[in-house]
Assembly symmetry: C2
């Protein structure tokens, strides 16, 4: 509120840069939060650690995100949105070659975002404070990913079994992400993705 | 060593009960370790917590398992072996109805064992002390599960793509386990498993 008042009194021309700075700070915090979560896990990721990593004061971090839970759920959501946008940009003309789409969907689950999200899920499963926000976030991101998968695969969900086929594919992608957690599973994953791309092509075009 | 010596000096008839007690203590510790891991996560699962949960002194726990890492990797392995045995017992005549086998395989990943293993994997991804043991354990359990899946599905791995088909199915099972972490995903999972059971039946009998 007091920040607003001060802004009001400043000349209008100065408003935009200040908002830009605030947005940039927020973005730095969100990206640092995901990086910390992926690297140090939930126990090692405090607001102070993230603020330091982002080069932002602890006070500024708390201005943007009142609680640790707020910061980390916002961070995973922010990066998930960015990944969705990147995926859509890969296929600007909508439905595309299914084998390529399967590969791109699986890629969503093998990077630092998945690693960060996994730490958040596992922490939420034991922490009552975190669980409601993360459960809601997971449902939202899951729906969005499903929607995108259906669209890019050109899958007709009015046909029996198609919805479950796409869901199972996304479950497989999540499982492949998990298999990549401790070791680089890229070579095996490549073969599994090629085979299931073929199978999916057959099931969806029948 | 000194325990051995004392045993040697005792009358032979007393030896068996003592070994039985030791085996029972070990078993209690292993089961308590998995329960603690599933319920409290890695950070909340110390050797002391497990020993108390098992009704065993901390000294006795350390006699069986010198380090915390030893205790928890042994625990996840022990329970994984028990689950494998239970799965084989479900299909005593070997290859069985594939839809039923798919369902039973997915069930391996939705109980407290999977939850415990997940905590262990995620902790190992950030802890250098834990990583080598858990990586080796995961590879061993993964090979055993794959072997069992191939056998029970009556899958002919000499045919191109069959190995990768079975691997993808197990990845999907893992992903379904993950989806069950925060909420009861049973209704959705049931439909996905039914559909993918059909798909697998088609692919493996072609």
């Amino acid at each position: 509120m007091s920040t607003e008042d001060r802004t009001e009194r400043a000349p209008r021309v100065l408003k935009a840069p200040k908002q830009d700075r605030s947005r940039a700070t927020r973005k730095r915090l969100l990206e640092a939060a995901v990086a910390c979560l992926a690297e140090h896990g939930w126990a090692g990721s405090t607001v102070s650690v993230v603020a330091e990593h982002a080069g932002v004061s602890r006070g500024a971090a708390q201005h943007h995100f009142p609680t640790r839970e707020d910061l980390f759920t916002a961070a995973v959501e922010y990066v998930a949105e960015q990944r969705s946008t990147a995926l859509r940009d890969l296929f600007p003309d909508g439905p595309a070659d299914r084998r390529a789409v399967v590969r791109a969907l699986v890629d969503l689950y093998t990077g630092p975002l998945f690693r960060a999200a996994l730490h958040l899920w596992v922490a939420a499963s034991n922490e009552d404070q975190l669980r409601p926000q993360v459960t809601e976030l997971e449902a939202r991101v899951g729906r969005e990913t499903h929607h995108m998968a259906v669209e890019l695969l050109g899958a007709d969900e009015s046909r029996p079994g198609v919805r479950e086929t796409v869901q199972g594919l996304l479950d497989m992608a999540r499982g492949l992400g998990l298999a990549n957690l401790l070791t680089d599973d890229g070579t095996r994953r490549e073969r599994v993705v090629a085979q299931w791309g073929e199978i999916l092509e057959g099931v969806l075009t029948d």
